[in-house]
């Protein structure tokens, strides 16, 4: 019976695997803009779902660096940073940031082409602004023909009056994209989309072998703005190139562009689902010892059992903080400082319990704790462990049998006597990056960081973080903020210049559970590098819910530029109500509405794609009652963020993550307090949605 069930499940999986294999067979060429394309023109192709593509392209006086993310099977978005020498005159360099988004309107079929609508540079300074419809059809697996119609920048050579004018005269003319100057950058230019003249473009791809592809195209782009000051000239609309695909999947394209220049493009593809070591390289879990042997070797008294349990858990990188026994049930609380997936910590704890507890303990109630506060609890039947340990479908079957609940009843005296106070420290190097300063596009700071945490009683922690910069260019910035708002973030250069040894935070924090499904936090002290004060938060998050709601209120004062002990005069009450929603699939949405640091009211909208292994790619924007004009360059706060688990890079268990937020510009509107340990981030890993996603690691 069991075998048949496994087999029918397998058949479904096999069909799925076939479908995936078919979709991956195609090679993908990437244009100088870092999106699917030939050399300078786009094609109607998509990358594989979830792929992250980094592209660098260079030709005469122009460099483009692009990150493209295939966020849905039919949508990809890009962020680009371009360096244009001599665009505005012989001795000047223009740095340009732009965002693209592409939608596939039709998938390629046997008889018809794929069709994509592209919006290039829809919210930047408009130098690359173009919209287009493009179609691509594959013939005999190796030939691809592409043709399309483009507006904006693409309406150069052979431009004709807009065919969309049949829908109204307003399509006839296109305003100067950059008319509003730098103050209007960042606003969506939809008034201009698909307006003005249009032109046709096209090209062909011949995939000579799995490694080598030849490309030829006709591009109507005249590089009008570039040619004014001799940045780049166009002599011919024809471009030719050859693309080589390396063994690791990355691609190098060499091209001859516009009859005047040679170009090089390199693309690197990352599939977030693939790690260096798929099953991980950390030590294997302890195997279950036969129950009769456990009975023979068990220690005589309870203190011995506890000591042995503590040691065995420690060996698995887990800290025992709570233990209670009643009849056939053992309740434990563990703090996981080792595993990225809470499910793996649960699986290890369950097996240690089975190997250490006397046989009459039939049920294990395991609470995942943080600073002594239970985040959730999972009940595991001892007999299920023995039955499923070697079952090929044990992950799913054990998840189906586990009972996830809000917490275990914490009995007085259950907290392990030597668990608190608990001291922990971190020491190591740090790297801080700042992007897109026109004087130096990438600024950095490297130094030493020390973190100290002292948990006195469950929930109550004193904590500090110190940083000593050693080398860097962050403090070389001499830019002065021109913000008309309170300078809550835009004085970052002054903070960098005037500080040396920094107290990143120095706080007293209390976490507690006011009621079932509720978590609360109060933090007092220097909360982050630029602000200190009082922060309080309440979160409602039922165990098996996709939705969580939170409210946070803070009263903070701006810290001195030396990031040591003093405050400046600026004080503000700031806070938000937040809704978090775990969308089906890999998506996660968050809305925070409230008052920001500069006293402005508004809301932040975030959407992330989160892979099971913790790799995240997301984007956010904030709209507040600060006018676009008062906000300044960029018009409103927005950015993209990447989070990569260290275990994804090393294959070894780790809870550490590398995260980087990239904002086109950091200004004062829509700026939120960076208080540590926001409750949703602390609790989420232990709630049912997240546990189910990581359950594949329960037996690892």
């Amino acid at each position: 019976m069991k075998n048949r069930a496994v087999k029918s499940g397998l058949t479904r999986l096999l069909i799925l695997a076939c479908a995936v294999a078919a979709g991956m067979a195609r090679a993908q060429s990437v244009s100088t803009y870092g999106t699917p394309g030939l050399l300078d023109i786009p094609t109607a192709e998509m990358f594989d779902d979830g792929t992250l593509v980094f592209t660098g392209a260079g030709f005469r006086n122009t460099g483009r660096a692009t990150m493209t993310f295939q966020m849905l099977p039919w949508v990809h978005g890009s962020f680009r940073y371009a360096v244009l020498d001599r665009l505005d005159g012989p001795d000047s360099t223009r740095y340009d940031r732009s965002f693209d988004v592409h939608f596939r309107l039709r998938e390629e079929s046997r008889s018809g082409p794929a069709i994509v609508m592209g919006l290039r540079d829809f919210g930047g300074t408009g130098i690359y602004a173009a919209e287009y419809f493009v179609a691509t059809k594959t013939f005999q697996d190796r030939f691809k023909l592409t043709g399309g119609i483009g507006w904006g920048r693409m309406a150069g050579r052979g431009a004709f009056s807009n065919p969309l004018s049949v829908f109204g005269d307003r399509f006839d003319t296109r305003n100067n994209a950059n008319a509003g100057g730098i103050s209007e950058t960042g606003q969506l230019d939809f008034g201009n989309w698909f307006h003005g003249d249009a032109a046709l473009f096209g090209g062909a791809i011949w995939q000579y072998s799995d490694r080598l592809t030849f490309l030829a195209e006709y591009s109507p782009d005249l590089y009008t703005q570039e040619s004014t000051n001799d940045n780049f000239r166009v002599k011919s609309p024809f471009n030719f190139g050859a693309q080589y695909r390396f063994r690791n999947g990355s691609q190098l394209t060499a091209s001859y562009l516009y009859g005047t220049t040679l170009g090089v493009t390199y693309s690197y593809f990352i599939d977030p689902r693939k790690t260096v070591a798929p099953g991980g390289q950390g030590a294997a879990p302890p195997p279950l010892v036969p129950e009769d042997q456990v009975a023979l070797t068990r220690p005589r008294n309870e203190a011995d059992i506890r000591d042995q349990l503590q040691t065995a858990l420690e060996q698995e990188g887990l800290r025992l903080v709570y233990l209670s026994e009643s009849g056939d049930t053992v309740g434990v609380g563990v703090e996981n400082n080792t595993y990225g997936q809470a499910a793996q910590a649960l699986g290890r704890t369950a097996r240690v319990l089975a190997n250490e507890q006397p046989p009459q303990a039939e049920y294990f109630d395991i609470a995942l704790m943080s600073s002594g506060v239970p985040l959730s609890a999972v009940r595991v039947n001892r007999s299920d462990l023995y039955e499923l340990e070697h079952d090929p479908d044990n992950a799913w079957r054990s998840f189906a049998r586990a009972e996830i609940s809000d917490t275990i009843p914490l009995i007085q005296g259950g907290i392990i006597s030597d668990a608190y106070p608990h001291f922990s420290y971190r020491f190591g190097p740090y790297l801080n990056l700042s992007f897109f300063d026109p004087d130096d596009p990438v600024r950095y700071e490297i130094g030493a960081a020390l973190g100290l945490d002292y948990t006195l009683t469950p929930g109550f922690t004193l904590s500090t973080g110190l940083r000593q910069p050693i080398i860097g260019t962050l403090d070389d910035s001499t830019r002065v903020s021109d913000s008309v708002l309170p300078h809550v973030r835009s004085d970052w250069a002054i903070y960098a210049r005037e500080s040396n040894l920094r107290i990143e935070h120095l706080t007293a924090e209390y976490l507690w559970r006011p009621a079932e499904n509720f978590y609360a936090r109060t933090t007092l002290g220097y909360l982050e590098t630029m602000f200190g004060g009082l922060s309080t938060e309440l979160l409602w998050y039922p165990t098996d819910s996709r939705l969580a709601l939170g409210i946070e209120a803070n009263y903070v004062a701006q810290r001195d530029f030396d990031v040591l002990f003093g405050f400046q005069d600026y004080k503000v009450a700031t806070g938000h109500v937040s809704a978090y929603y775990d969308l089906p699939g890999d998506y996660h949405a968050q809305i925070d509405a409230g008052r920001y640091l500069a006293g402005d009211y508004g809301a932040t909208f975030s959407l992330d794609r989160e892979f099971n292994n913790g790799f995240k790619v997301g984007a956010f924007f904030t709209l507040t009652d600060v006018s676009f004009e008062d906000f300044g360059e960029g018009s409103f706060d927005k950015g993209i963020r990447l989070e990569i688990p260290v275990s994804w890079l090393t294959g070894r268990p780790s809870r550490n993550k590398i995260s980087q937020t990239i904002r086109p510009v950091l200004r004062d509107g829509g700026a939120r307090l960076n208080v540590r340990n926001r409750l949703y981030g602390v609790t989420r890993e232990a709630r049912a949605q997240q546990l189910s996603r990581g359950w594949g690691r329960f037996w690892r």
Partner: protein, 213 residues
């Protein structure tokens, strides 16, 4: 991937966490082959009499070593390496590998075992589940053809042992592999084998080390 790793290892310095962890990672990156002894392996190696041993090797990556029998429960043996990786064997058939990088999570190899241990030929099905890079379990099914390759004497600790050599050729949707078994004639037990661990590491070579007695 290596270039990417190197680039990110720099960035890794940003990460916070237990200092021990960071330094371990750094050391691992600088000296990937430095030995790490796992406390469980140390405890097992100190046990007397010495637990049963298994010589193992990954021919594709030129790695080899000895594993010790840690636990046997319900006919499944768990063998441990010095750095804490394990494999499980059921009647000598590989059913899981953990800690080697690739992750064979579990297997159903009963059909293969029935035929091979009885010296038979024919077609069987086997199933393996793998932990993938996205922390999901993938179940894979394979159709296998078992054939005998005649008898062969192999040497175990200097003594010749008469075995029957059998081969199992398996085909799945995305992968195919070949396992080879040397089954001792007198005991009908597998004494030497080369078995597939998954796409990440390929085949693993195993040879039992007879007891001193």
């Amino acid at each position: 991937m290596k270039a990417l790793r190197a680039a990110f290892l720099g960035l890794l310095l940003v990460s916070c966490g237990e200092a021990q962890d960071d330094f371990d990672l750094l050391r691992g990156a600088l000296q990937p082959n430095a030995p790490r002894f796992h406390p469980r392996a140390e405890a097992l190696a100190a046990r007397r009499p010495i637990p049963p041993r298994l010589e193992v090797g990954f021919p594709a990556s030129d790695l080899s070593g000895v594993m010790l029998l840690e636990v046997e429960r319900d006919g499944v043996q768990t063998w441990l390496t010095a750095d804490g990786a394990t494999i499980t064997l059921e009647q000598g058939f590989l059913t899981s590998t953990k800690g080697f990088g690739g992750g064979m999570a579990g297997s159903d190899v009963r059909q293969s075992a029935d035929l091979i241990l009885n010296g038979g030929e024919g077609r069987v099905e086997r199933f393996h589940s793998f932990l993938n890079g996205n922390d999901e379990i993938e179940l894979h099914a394979y159709i296998c053809q078992i054939s005998t390759l005649g008898s062969e004497d192999i040497v175990l600790r200097g003594a010749p042992v008469a075995t029957q050599r059998l081969q199992e050729q398996c085909y799945g949707v995305a992968e195919s592999f070949t396992n080879t078994y040397w089954v001792q004639g007198s005991t009908r037990k597998i004494v030497q084998s080369s078995q597939w661990t998954g796409a990440f590491l390929g085949n693993m070579f195993m040879k039992v080390v007879p007891d001193d007695t």
